[in-house]
């Protein structure tokens, strides 16, 4: 029976449409995974030396202090990125398998997930370094055993959390709160959790605690999963009562309004599209890394523009790059209706411009760091609206990845087709404003730099119709290819 499952899995991997079409992407992702593994391994060795010689602390104790955050971030990353094992269960339900077998196979698959393995790349070298420096083997092994149990505990906790919609926000909120309290020195959770992790090392009996937790978590997730193996329970897609919305106030946008109304509903009602809004909110805070001087490398003046582009353009960049893929699930409809491409495009354009304006207003908090910082943001907003909004739509026209609006899982996974054209078009998005600013800054004064970027942005507005013509031609010439690419379900 296991043989069947494993051959099924093997085939589904090698025959998936996304593997064959996105081989380049797979290699790219694989490269990053290897890089991450390598860096963790080096880090595992290096951190021992660093803590011992630089900070003159006990490496193990220090690591133990921070392990709570390590595990918490692990959980959040898993929630965002790790795919759930449910996907192909439906066809198996009516076959003569025991439900428990199906669930154990689905769970077993997750054990080999990258998210579980990656920890080993850090902790194994670190543990070896510990042992070589005279830490007793048994204790180090016990400590590792405890950690393995906790990491796998996260694995199953994630499975449970994934079934509840809002729990993760609660956990994320608590984490942010605790981190903040720690940072400002009010309350340090690691004082309480540190000894526990240290205990894994010191007293053998404590290692039982994470193992028991793990077993309980496995039990809960197993029970709730096998109980929910029905089409109308765990495998169902949820639907709730909804209201028809008219959004008539948008009619002032004229013909564009038809599409604008749809696009707003698209964002409101689809998980995947909503996540772009979340991304843009996150990007609002991105500037903190730069403007607070938290990271030395980013203190150069040119980085200001870089940060400001992201602060104001989070939505623009994450939404725009997938036009027209947002409409992929009903593209044949759009193509057989009498649609003016210009109206369609300008609807998306207005959305991005409105979002950029909103971000700029919200970013006024950066005035705290001085009005020069805010000038950078204003200038970047102009550049975003004038130039980037067009470039992003242009680059998007070459992207033919269909989007499954209802699922959020792949929002981070397939960071779209990295074809040469989109890569090339990303240059003017980021590099050009930085170069312009640098020219003005070093040749004359900071204000000349701002002025140059702003002028480029203004000039971009003038080119709007021209760019829309180009995009329209791309849409037309690539029409058949796009339709057939969108038909490929992942």
């Amino acid at each position: 029976m296991w043989k069947h499952f494993i051959t099924l899995q093997w085939k589904s991997f090698w025959r998936s449409a996304s593997l064959t079409s996105g081989l380049f992407m797979k290699i790219f992702m694989g490269f990053w995974a290897l890089w991450l593994a390598f860096m963790s391994a080096v880090g595992g060795v290096a951190i021992f030396k660093l803590i011992k010689e630089h900070f003159e602390l006990d490496p193990l104790e220090t690591i133990n202090k921070f392990l709570i955050y390590w595990l918490a971030f692990d959980l959040i990353f898993r929630y965002a990125l790790q795919k759930m094992p449910v996907i192909n269960i439906k066809p198996l339900l009516t076959l003569p398998f025991h439900k428990n077998k199906i669930v154990s196979f689905a769970f077993g698959k997750t054990l080999f997930s990258f998210f579980n393995i990656i920890h080993a790349f850090f902790f194994v070298p670190f543990s070896i370094t510990l042992i070589r420096n005279g830490y007793p083997i048994t204790n180090v092994l016990l400590w590792n055993l405890g950690l393995i149990a906790l990491v796998y505990g996260n694995n199953f906790l994630n499975i449970i959390l994934n079934k509840k919609d809002n729990l993760i926000f609660l956990i994320g909120g608590i984490l942010v709160l605790l981190g903040g309290l720690h940072y400002f020195g009010y309350f340090d959770i690691s004082v309480y959790t540190g000894p526990f992790f240290q205990g894994l090392y010191d007293t053998s009996i404590i290692t039982l605690i994470p193992i028991i937790i793990l077993l309980i978590l496995i039990g809960i997730s197993f029970r709730s999963f096998s109980k929910d193996l029905y089409l109308d329970a765990g495998l169902a897609t949820k639907s709730k009562d909804v209201q028809t919305e008219n959004l008539d106030w948008l009619n002032r946008f004229g013909k564009t309004a038809t599409f604008l109304k749809n696009d707003i509903k698209l964002i409101k009602r689809n998980k995947r599209a909503r996540s772009t809004v979340m991304v843009s909110i996150l990007f609002l805070f991105y500037g903190l890394l730069f403007f607070t001087g938290a990271i030395e490398t980013y203190n150069g003046p040119v980085w200001r523009i870089f940060a400001a582009i992201f602060v104001t353009g989070g939505f623009l960049l994450s939404f725009g790059q997938f036009v027209p893929s947002w409409d992929s699930s009903y593209y044949p409809l759009m193509m057989s209706q009498n649609i003016k491409y210009k109206e369609y495009l300008s609807s998306k354009w207005w959305l991005m411009v409105i979002a950029t304006l909103l971000s700029t207003v919200l970013a006024s908090g950066y005035l705290y760091f001085g009005w020069e910082v805010y000038v950078a943001i204003l200038v970047a907003a102009i550049y975003n609206m004038g130039v980037n909004s067009h470039v992003v739509l242009w680059a998007g026209a070459y992207v033919k990845t269909p989007i499954d609006l209802t699922s959020n899982r792949k929002a981070f996974g397939d960071r779209q087709a990295f074809n040469a054209k989109t890569l090339l078009l990303s240059l003017p998005k980021m590099a050009l404003p930085m170069i312009l600013y640098a020219i003005g800054y070093y040749a004359y004064s900071p204000y000349a730099g701002y002025a140059l970027v702003a002028i480029a942005g203004m000039a971009g507005f003038a080119l709007r119709d021209k760019v829309f013509d180009i995009i329209e031609n791309i849409y037309k010439s690539e029409k058949y290819k796009t339709i057939s690419a969108y038909k490929q379900k992942k």
Binding site: D241, N262, S329, P332, M335, S336, N338, L405, T406
Partner: protein, 231 residues
Amino acid sequence: MIAVQNLTKTYTGKTVLNIDHLEIQKGNSFGLVGNNGAGKTTLFSALLDLIQPTSGHIKNNGIKVSESEEWKSNTSAFIDETFLIGYLTAEEYFYFIGELRGQNKADVDRLLSGFEDFFHGEILGQKKYLRDLSKGNQKKVGIIATLIGNPEVIVLDEPFANLDPTTQIRLKKIIKDLTANPDVTILVSSHDLMHVTEVCERIVVLDKGEVVKDIKTSQKTLKELEEHFNK
């Protein structure tokens, strides 16, 4: 109204469609039957310029569909669920299509009110997105949406599939009413020989992409078709 000329479509060496000449008169109701893979959907997709023919062309009202988009304003189609917008409610979808076809809300409402029977209380005011409706109800929405904006050419791919018996009977009546209008040309494909002989004045049988029968519907048509498919 529709003129197909030397149309072929080839996928990696395999010809899936090969029609020398086929003309459909204005006001006609035209039925397309054939087994799976006969090329019915391919023909309709080519007619809607959703796929590019390997050779030949299709003219809609004298306009080559791949060269101009003029035909779009008088043609409407429902091929499959990719013609529905999953995250809209039925009303929102109808109004959206209405706006694209130059109809205001009142126009659309007037049209819809004539189909309350057909909807059977399962479409309007349902507080559900289209993606959460059953397959049959989705189909009802798609079919009625093609009637918005007085199109001259209506293309329906397998409209009877997934519909319950009552709705099938009502749909037949709708199609017959449309046929009575001399300005409306309607193209229907189906696996159900009985339905198609009932509603279509002319039936073409496709087999492996080629026209093998072209029948003007009469009393004997159903029998003739059954014999053809019972080979």
